[in-house]
Subunit: 141 residues, 4 copies
């Protein structure tokens, strides 16, 4: 099986079990080894107290892209830590794309960066996730 | 109005507009100036591809506690950045409490730490959020 | 040997080999299991281009406190990741204390928080470090 | 003056006042608008207690590259926060290059990523810095 096909199989399996991604309306946009894009539209049940998209929803979208990307090589990885920088508020109805790319990867660890952008191309947040080999003892994104 | 009463008013107003906290079943547990606890039970629609609670859901719970705590002094603050460290996976059905405390605060910025714990008292994740005075140009948690 | 004595022995051994701490004039102030304070005075060779203490010097001071604290229990740990939030600039001549405390620790990982304060008690920066068991494959603080 | 020339002037001015970069032997390698590389050799006074390059020294090298890059457009910026992920230990004598690139920038904020690599091209650490417009109230890298 090619790396491209393996990525598709691994991500599809993960996505089908990922009830959070499905309940938030996170769609798979593209899947390649080490590089996955997802997209999501900000719904009325995704706001914070100031009326913008909740930071946790943006994080969740990025975190799903990260989880799919770091598991796309057929080796189970789990998120160990992550950070997010917010650049601009995101309004109700906006379509957000999260593109996760592999910044570095060793046998046991990886760092993935995710850019969250609007349909107009504005960067609204940047996410960085660190993953480790799955040993049943850590959290996955 | 006392600082305690002011905190309650500010957080109640924020919580009532925060559709994400309500759709995720995040409950307010305690509200004090600079110190807010919320709690949430992991539902079947909150899992990741490995069958544990999705990292974004844990982050959302912490982020809501952070947003409530940093706005509890009557000055509108928005999240500028946040990070999370995952210590252990969280299973379906677990009740998670997120306690946000004020680590430091100046007139324009603040840093808040949130500990996520199970009902048994195990720390499953640690969150740190940085906020800035609201100017309509940044994201709120 | 008591936990207190063990911490002292472990940290003294680490400190004596830590040429960076000694070249930066970082002094050990107090050592307890999971809790270590160091201090340093900002010298003329520790400034940045704006004339304040360089961020990397503040980070180094915090990182040493972190490394000592996470190794104070007699199990070798190495830094896996760290973050720092700057709250205020630090001037030439200031005496900075870095107090590292153990926020959470499992057998294989730990998270330590370090507060950097001036002699007047102002918090100038907050550091958070994550460590893992030493396996010869990661960086130590 | 071209953007390239302006970057060179701005970075040279900052570098000449940056006593930390000079005392650590951090050299300017290349300067472009939003993109600066520096390099440093790990000296005997730059080790940690485990005998590898101290995390604070690696951070300092990255932080200088970040500070130069975020000030290369002629607008004074100061570091607000930063994080580092360590991928591999760095030995005495290694030549480390830190390449800072602009990931996103608005009028008031920016996020810069710095990759730290050995002469052989191995990524030993990844740094991310967030900067804000200089107002005399925050720390610069």
């Amino acid at each position: 099986m090619s790396a491209e096909a393996q990525a598709r199989v691994a991500v599809d399996a993960l996505y089908s079990a990922d009830t959070t991604s499905r309940s938030l309306g996170i769609d798979l946009v593209s899947v390649h080894p080490g590089r996955v894009a997802v997209a999501m539209t900000v719904r009325p049940d995704m706001l914070n107290g100031h009326g913008n998209c909740h930071g946790g929803i943006l994080f969740s979208c990025a975190d799903s892209a990260f989880a799919f990307a770091c598991n796309s090589r057929g080796v189970a990885m789990v998120g160990a830590a992550a950070s997010i920088e917010y650049m601009a508020p995101v309004a109700l109805g906006e379509r957000i794309t999260a593109l996760a790319t592999e910044t570095t990867r060793t046998e046991r660890h990886g760092v993935y960066d995710v850019a969250l952008t609007t349909a107009a191309g504005a960067v609204v947040a940047l996410f960085r996730g660190r993953c480790s080999r799955h040993r049943g003892a850590q959290q996955s994104g």
